[in-house]
Structures are given as C-alpha cells and as structure tokens.
Amino acid sequence: MQVFKVIIKTIRKNLHVLSIYLVVFVFFLILMSSLQTSEGSTTFSEVKRSVMIINKDSGNVIADAFADFMKKSSIPIAPVETEEEMLDALFNEEADYILVIPEGFSKDFLSGSHTVQLEQQSVAGSRGAVWTDMKIRKYLDLLRLYTELSDVDANDTEAIAKLSAQVETQMNKETKVVYPTGVQKEKESSVPYFSKFMAYSLMAITILGVGTILKLFTGRDFKNRLRCSPEKTSSVNLQLVLGNLCFAFTAWAVMTLVCLSFGLKDGLKLWVWVLVLNSLVFMITTLCMSVVIGLVVKNENVRTFVANVVALGSSFLSGIFVPIEFQSETVRKIAGFIPAFWYVKAVEEAKNLTSYAWSDIQPIAAYMAIQLGFGVAFICVAMAVSREKSRHSI
C-alpha cells in the first residue's frame, strides 16, 4: 500500500489550499441559513412587495388610514432617516418602493385639488413599482369617490373617519380565485439550497486535489521509477484509483455532514437522503472529470485556474448560484452539456417529492444516470489521453 500512503500524504500536505473551499462553503451555509425565510402556502396568496412608508402627515385621519392600509397590504420596511439610506434600501432591494406622505396631504386630498402629491422612489417600470402604484391607486380612487360624492367638511373628523371606514369595507371585497389543485407546497427546507451549493465546493476541491495527486504520479521520473519497481502496474493503478476515491469520498462526506447538520432543524425527510445519494453520484462524476483535467493540465498555476474556471463556470451556468429558469435559452442549451446541470435538476425534482412511487422517482433516477453517463464518458477520455501520453513518453 505504499502508493496509497503517498497519496494520503500528498493530500495532507495540500490541505491548507483545499480547505479554503470548505471554509467558503461553511461560510455560505451559515449565511444562507440565517437568511432563509420563504414559506409556502396551500391557498392562493397575493405576492407582497416591500414598501417603506414614511408618513409626514400623521395625526390626520386620511393619511393615517392610508398609511395603515399600505402597511397591511405590503411588507412594511422600517423607515430610515437620510436620503442616502433610502437610496441604499432601493438599490439593495430591501425596499421596492419608498412612499412619503407629505405634510398637508390629507387636507389637500379632501379639498379635491390633488396638488400635494405623494412622493415616491422606486425603479421605474419595475414589478415593485407597478404593484405598489396599483395598490395606491386602488385605495385613493375609492377614497376620492367617497369624499367627492359626499361633500364632507374638512374639519369634521368623525365624518372623515366614517368615510375611510367605508373604504376599508370595500377593500375587503375580493374576487373569487379558483386555484388548481395539487400544487400544495410545504415550507421550503434549506437543504436543497445547501446541496446545490455543495456541488461548487466539491468540484473545486476535487479538481485541485486529484490534480495534485495525478501530477505526482504522472510525472515522468516518478512514473518510470514506479514502473521499475516490483509493484505490479495493476496494483499501482488500483491504489491510485482507491486513493483518489478515498480523497473525494472524504471531501464529500465532510460536506454532506456539514450540510445535514445545518439542515437538521428542517427535519431529515426521506427526500433529503435522495439528495445525499444524488450528491454521491455527482461526486463520482466530478472525480472522473477531475482525472481528465489532472491528466491534461500539468502546470500547478494553470490547474488552480482551471479548477476555478470549471467550478465557478459550471456553477453559474447550471443554476447552482442563479436559478436556471432565469436564464436565457442559449445558456440553458449550453448547460445541458454540464454534469452539474443534471445534478441541479435532480435536486429540484427531489425536493418536491411527496410520494416515492417509481413514477415519481424515475426522473430523478434518469438525471442521476445522465450524471453517471458523463462520468463514463470522462473515464473513456481519461483512458484515451493516458494511452496517448504513455505512447509518447518513455
């Protein structure tokens, strides 16, 4: 087992470089698990947008009732003080819309002149702006209808309060919605998220690690010395495969454990284990890919570069960082040629599993099979490359 031992030693020596990706991974998990909030529901629910409401006309019934309505129907964002902070909130998408109710708005509204306008900041033409504009118009049109047709005195607080109560009642009238059945959703677990991100770190670590091992064993002098030793070539190769597998498996196991421990609070449903299996399959495919890269790329600098390019590139293209449905047709077409794309597809499919009949599992199995297919293809390439190389070198 001399060869195997050397592999373990090589990996241990390079642990500091490899662990960077593990650190980034854990970092991501910590951050994401603190950010996760999304919840599913079983009936039709309106999409709400985040609105920052600043009421400078408070104390007046109209402004207060309007602000209340806006707060209730949106995701209210805590007001900030300065202009720049407002701009920050818009840019960072914390708030889709910033609505300032200016002083004197109530009085002006009752007078019917509508010269004191609401001040808004939003991204023109964005969904958030359209949504919020609709809400505002809906409420104020109704209010205008009542105020102008009933001629209330601007100082008659009671009458005004009655008007806004009427508006409130109307607002509760809703159109009936028929919602297609069978699209029930549970609360989103964060495990699929983590599982997807894991693919990135796994790719980076495996390519780098396998590259380091292969560099040593395919170096001409080292290889020739091994060839001259009494160790059988088949045994050397077996140990090489074993060593690489061992390394990739350890990396996978560590990350899976981290993943699961972070996902523990969401409960470990059966489909979580499907994800684990899926990532194991992906690990094998990645390992095969890494062997090809390791055989082709010798220079250490270039290898680190390739590892990053492949890991980041396929993560961006295949939907690990950015959901694939947001991407253009071209990107989606290219993505089909990347193993990670099928990995992500399997994750997406698996997280919605509710029953485990063969017909439900079949697509997932197919995606895993495609990944393994990639793996086989990579091995073929690796064998071809290594045969070609051994023919040309002593």
Partner: protein, 381 residues
Amino acid sequence: MFWNIFGYRMKSNVRDFSTLFWTLAFPLFLATFFGLVFPNITSSTVTFETVNVGFYENSAYGGDPYLLESLKSAKQSEGIDLFHVTVFESIEASEEALNNQEISGYAEVAEEVVLHMQGSGFNQTIIKSFFDQYAQISSAIRDVARDNPAALEEVSALFEKEVNYTTSTFAGRDKPDSILVYFYSLIAMTCLYGAFQGQKEIMNIQANQSQLAARQNVSPVPKLKLFGSSILSVTLVQYLSILILLAYLVFVLRINIGDRIGMILAAAFAGCCLGISFGALVGAVVKAGEGIKVAIIISFSMILSFLSGMMQSSVKVAIEKAVPVFKYALPGNLIANTFYAIYYFNSNERFYFGMALMIGISIFFYTIVILVLRRQKYASI
C-alpha cells in the same frame, strides 16, 4: 537607473503569464459568465412585463361593457399596458390556454367574476388586484347611489378626470440595479488579485526570499529605488489589467457602471494600489514560504470577494446590515462601495470617503513594508 529597472520590470511583468492568468484572464472569464447570466435575471424578476390574461364572458350573463374595456386600457405608470387580453369563446379554450401557460390566469365573467389562476405569482397578483379594484369601485358606486341617487351622475365625470397621486422624487444618479453588485464585486476581486503582483515584487527584492533579490541587493542600487521602480511597474501593469476589465464590462458586455469616467478611473487606481500594497505587506511581513503567502492571498481575496457579494449579492447586503462598519472595513466591500457611489449617488461624499480610505490604507501598508525593507542585512538567506 530607475527607469532602466522600471523598463525591465515592465517587460518581465507583461510576460509573466502565470500571474496574468489570475489578474487578467480569470476576471475576464468571470465577467463573461456574469454577462451571460445576470441581465436575464433582471428582465425576468425585476422588470415589469405586460401580463397575459384570458377573458371569458358567460353568454348567459348580460354583461358589463366597461369591464373588458377597462381591462384592456389599464396601464402602468410608464404608459405600458398592464394586460394583454385574449377573449375566449369557451371555458375549455381558456382552460387549455392556462395549462399551456399562454396566460397567467383568466377571468370567468358571469354574475360573479371568478379568476382561474396558475400558481400564485406576481402576474396572478396583478390580475387579481385589477379585478378586486374593479369590483370594489363598482360596489362603492352602488353604495353611494343607494344613499344619494343624484350623485350618480357625478361619477362618470369623476372618472373622466384621471388623478395622478404620486410624483417621483428619486434622487439617485442612475437606476438602481442590484446585479451591479456582482460586477462591483468582480472589480473588487480583480483589484485584490493585485496582491499576487505585490507579493511577487517583494519576493524579487528581499534578499532572503529569492536568489534574484539577493543578486540585486549586492548591486549599487539602493533598495528603495529598486522597490519604487518595481512597484511602479507592477502598479501600471495591474492598472492596465483593471482597465481592460472595465472596458470589457462597458463596451462588450454593455454594463452601465456610470458615466463619470474620471471618478471610475480614479477609483480603479486606488483599488489597484490597495490590492498591490496588501500583497506587498503579506510578502514583507509574513515569515513563510512563497506557497503559504500565495495561499494567504488567495484565501483572503476569495473570502473578501465572497463577502462583497460575488456569489450572492444578498451576502453583501446581509453582512453590511449586520455590521455597518464592514461597508468600509472590508477591502472588497470598500472597493465595491466606491464604485457603487460613483454610479448611484449625486453627492460625492461617499466616493471621496472611499477614495481617502483606499489611499490611506495603501499608504499605511506601504509604510510598514518600507520599514521592513529598510533592514538591509539578513540573519540567514
């Protein structure tokens, strides 16, 4: 002599492909990916697009002529149609269109309006919002007419007059666009990768770090002159790399990073100095082999880029929200935020603050480096 060394350092830096891989090729590669992926996100999640809606009127129902008309004429504030309406003859046809996702939902109009929706997303919300409003207004009119029939005549006049309730007071220089976070972070990463260059230059002049350095140390050139010309050359090369990246972003990928070119160039330069001085600091202060130093630089720049939002823009928002000082204390975020200030704010306060910090930190780093360099004899080589 200074310019002679500078000239050869230039030649050597331009030909050092393994470093240029990192400082130039890698950022360009990432930029290409970002360019492929992100603009689509904006168009599909942020920008409003006209909603496809179906309309089926039950023939048994006498009908409300206004409903279809107002559905068709509804516009958002920019003047773009809210809906693209398809009128269906049968409920089956509507249902089919819904299943084929040609429409986000359809309205079945009879005595009561029923909406048939596919899921509960943004488009569905807009459809429902419209029909809710229509129903509420109609109900309100009935309400008013019951109390005061005479007022009914005023109603049509009332709705003739379109009232604009809001006015935009948006004070930003340019449109908010959260995907820019990714590109800012990419620029920041490129600046920080200058650290490789800084470290390399220190290695080339510290006699206990390389043979070449030892050889130059026995020449009659003062060390600070050597340092000055090396750093100047490497700064120029790195600055060029960043400019190439910026040009690629602006002219090839068509990313709008603002129109204040002078400020962009200045910020790029300050960021470049920050990265290089950081590398020089690591090179001069850390007592370890080249491998460890490079590992330190890689891990730092990776983590800093990550924190500035390179892999997930929400990371940047979250981290700056949790610890506001990080906006400026993390070099990656500092560089990204300076570019953000150029693009987004009319007032230059944040830009100047960012610039001052970047330059200040660079000077601080260089001061330490020079103090270390001044010691001219080594205990061992």
